[in-house]
Subunit: 100 residues, 2 copies
DNA sequence: TATATATTTAGACAACTATCTAAATACAAA
DNA sequence: TTTGTATTTAGATAGTTGTCTAAATATATA
């Protein structure tokens, strides 16, 4: 789970995820959308894979990357515990302070 | 939005959020739950505030921190675009490769 | 006022991150 | 086999981050 937050903590990587929403792409096609070197994009793809936000399949010379939605589903679950609908159950113990 | 991902990219800060799910707490009470110095926790609280994941109110010598759920709601919206229910609409263009 | 408590600010430092270029690897095609 | 294309690995570097201690600030109390 740590890896997921780490992977998402970078605008370029989040942009890569948005790109792949549309369609699967090769590493090269992805790199062409950014003004970074290919090794840099390759590194970002690696971090996204470590977080299991992407999967990859090698086909000939090309490596195709695809979104993996299952991790996002987990993240969603984590996040739901903090939403307005879930939280009002908690004790609100901020003391009534009779300020000076 | 960048600040939100940054704030969440640290286990201690995520733990602080979970703590505050139960009840509002002072900076000192929060710090007592961790094996870090108070300045360190103060810094984490600051980052969480910058991301608007927390609000704080000073009462006398004490500073009370509370969860702010509205940002989580936004994050949720961002995340929803990547969930299984939303995504199957996309083109799946991974070519059928007749492997060697 | 003097002292104690709660919290933050400042400054330092080791560890981590994003980026680059150059080189290596893997595969395809001539 | 030689050449070209796609991608990753290695190594370097500047910038960022998490942590600490010491000091500063703000408030409460004796």
């Amino acid at each position: 789970m740590n890896n997921v937050f780490k992977a998402l903590n970078d605008k370029t990587r989040r942009d890569i995820l948005e790109l792949l929403k549309q369609e699967d792409m090769t590493a090269g096609q992805i790199a062409d959308h950014f003004n970074f070197s290919k090794p840099t994009i390759s590194h970002h793809l690696d971090l996204l894979k470590q977080a299991e936000l992407l999967t990859s399949v090698k086909k000939g010379q090309f490596v195709f990357y695809s979104l993996n939605t299952t991790v996002m589903d987990e993240l969603l679950k984590w996040m739901l515990q903090f939403t307005a609908d879930t939280l009002p159950l908690r004790k609100k113990i901020t003391p009534r302070y009779e300020g000076k």
